[in-house]
Symmetry: C2
Subunit: 402 residues, 2 copies
């Protein structure tokens, strides 16, 4: 019955692209004194192969390539692929391949549970986990290859197209969630995959955040720039059923995952004339984005970018509403790609230094009492020398809904 529509080859990246990524990871391993590592985080597996499988990738820079230990799906092929049912089978399979026991094996201590790390360490013949691979993977993934940048740009094109359709989805009397649902639908029809991957458990969200009015000032438990009460205490973030009112901006920040690599974009919309305060805050947000884009070059400190944004807010007398009002987010931007919270982090005490190939969302937003949330967000690719290039290209001014 089945004519395979999808390749079974484990490496969907091609040799050259995979080698480029592996070289970054191997460099990091060498710098950290890590001889071998076992990868099991799904986002990292996707990074290293261009596909998702349940299992493990054994990395040892001194070998001729990775070894893949696949639990599921059951049809993958290619050099170094071993089907297993449990990780305890790994050492024997490695031995078949001529890879002897010996080196300590680093694990992803920052993304794999304690119980699973102990099991893997034990399976590999170690008393407990040794070195941490998480910072190595995070650093490798922070610098996107040209192919990754292409996927991000492709998401940006579709994401921007959807945003240009948003004004046509509005009908008078809609609530925030009704408006959001129509945006979700159009996004999905345009090819949005829906999920956005998040590293760690500091964020939960469905498809995006649409905020209007005082709901924007309800603090949320999550590590997002903006809050909102949400529809239910089980997911306290975002739209809460507030009716969209004339003159009150609606901030739209919805999912840009169209290719496995996502863009992050926010724009504001308003029914009727926007109030001058909203226009002014939005212009300040755009000005901060432009100023940071001009600064974002290799060697620049992430903390300096944050400082610049905070200074511009202060000069405009907008500090009290910068990145929130009752609750303030501690950053103005973040790396993104496969996950929404990658390196670098644009925050006051960030130690990150920008590199060419970083992809960074900048989101200077304001929560103004009586008005709600105002501001934009763009995703930028950091170049070699020129100012960073925005891949989210919808018009930045507050867009009229009617």
């Amino acid at each position: 019955m089945h004519t395979p529509k999808y390749p079974t080859e484990i490496n969907l990246l091609g040799h050259e692209e995979q080698s480029r990524r592996l070289e970054r990871v191997y460099d990091g391993m060498r710098a950290a004194g890590i001889e071998a590592a076992l990868v099991r985080n799904l986002a990292n597996i996707y990074y290293l192969t261009g596909r998702v499988f349940r299992g493990y990738i054994y990395l040892q820079p001194s070998l001729d390539g990775p070894r893949y230990f696949v639990r599921q799906p059951n049809h993958l092929t290619g050099p170094g692929v071993h089907m297993i049912r449990k990780p305890e089978e790994i050492p024997a399979k490695l031995a078949e391949d001529g890879v002897g026991a010996g080196p300590q094996v680093a694990l992803e201590l920052g993304s794999v549970t304690f119980a699973e790390c102990m099991r893997l360490a034990c399976a590999m013949g170690m008393a407990g986990p040794g070195a941490d691979l998480s910072p190595v993977m995070r650093a490798a993934r922070a610098v996107k290859t040209p192919f990754e940048q292409k996927l991000i740009k492709a998401s940006g094109v579709k994401h921007s197209l959807v945003y240009e359709r948003i004004p046509h989805l509005y009908q008078e009397g809609m609530t925030d969630i009704e408006f959001q649902i129509e945006i979700e639908r159009v996004s999905r029809l345009e090819g949005c995959l829906g999920i956005f991957r998040v590293g760690g458990d500091d964020m939960e969200l469905f498809m995006g955040n649409v905020l209007t009015g005082e709901n924007a000032d309800t603090p949320s438990p999550y590590d997002f720039a903006m809050g909102g009460a949400g529809l239910d205490p089980s997911l306290p973030v975002g739209a809460d059923g507030t009716v969209i009112r004339p003159g009150i901006p609606v901030m739209v920040d919805v999912n840009g995952d169209y290719t496995g690599y996502m863009t992050d974009m926010t724009r504001c919309f308003v029914s009727g004339e926007p109030l001058p305060e909203a226009v002014k805050a939005n212009e300040l947000s755009v000005a901060i984005c432009d100023a940071l884009a001009a600064m974002m070059k290799p060697g620049v400190a992430a903390a300096d970018l944050y400082r610049k944004a905070a200074e511009m807010a202060e000069e405009a007398g907008m500090s009290a509403s910068f990145m929130g009002h009752r609750s303030h987010a501690g950053f103005v931007g973040h790396g993104l790609g496969i996950e929404i919270n990658e390196a670098p982090v644009i925050a006051p005490r960030s130690k990150d230094i920008l590199q060419a190939g970083n992809v960074i969302a900048i989101e200077p937003k304001f929560v103004i009492p009586g008005l709600g949330a105002v501001g934009i967000e763009n995703t930028y690719i950091v170049g070699e020398d020129a100012p960073a290039q925005a891949v989210t290209t919808a018009p930045t001014a507050i867009v009229l809904l009617d």
Copy 2:
């Protein structure tokens, strides 16, 4: 500006309901010899308080109640609430409260990362994590209180309503994903929260799975009953853009999270007359559900339920397509509630024994070469004595789309 629409009291469950849940957790802790524990998993925090916050709950059965250490949001109140910036502040705050250091503190080793467990252990003055709280929480959450059952029933009512609207969403020539997007929209308009929580990282999915034709036979990496290629290698599960054809069933298994507690339901739909094979397989699925529902009483072994289902498939000559064809799922049902993969697990080697208050989804599904996926899924509440009660009540026969 802000008239608080949502209560700031940390415990949204009320004293009685929270005590009922705490007593279950404390019983488990005592049985496991655990004197004290720190909870940080968001699903467990929601279970214990009825709300989500980022932080920690300190449990010690000998105290007069939990202590809450909240990082975010910044406006929570109530007895035992302490605002903190980092977990290292916990011991001093406990001491303020008259709780001395001393007992070993169990952590959720099965859901918290290795790095975070080490940090928490160190913050609590321990050399490393001691006992594992994860099995205790899993066991406590497996038996739903009457209030939890009420939330599950409420989700079931809305979920069933949405399924009755599905036939009206179909238009000739639609692809699986176009059909799914209209179902997503109607679900969201009916109040579906969108996310469904999953424990661990063995599953990723957006909003549900709609499968038609041979795509149902594409193995996926995830631990779901059914597969599908998906739209992109970054999320290889579910609809892949196949056009829905006359006579070929469409299996719809979409998100039932309307209240923070979810139901799981699957039904099949067909444009034109269903083929007799499809009708027969669907009837077998319904018969297995009915047989298992009649068996599901306290004291029954989960493994016996699986065995019964597999026997009925075998007697009908359907073993080769039971729970998949090119790839077979290793279970026929699963507990659910706050997360989609709770205890008990209805699998051949499951050690789980049913208890009154278990909520279990039963999903005997078939993947038939040339036809695709056929079968239903219902969510049941296990009672004291009577057969289990289905809370997903849409008609079980294959529904005609036109």
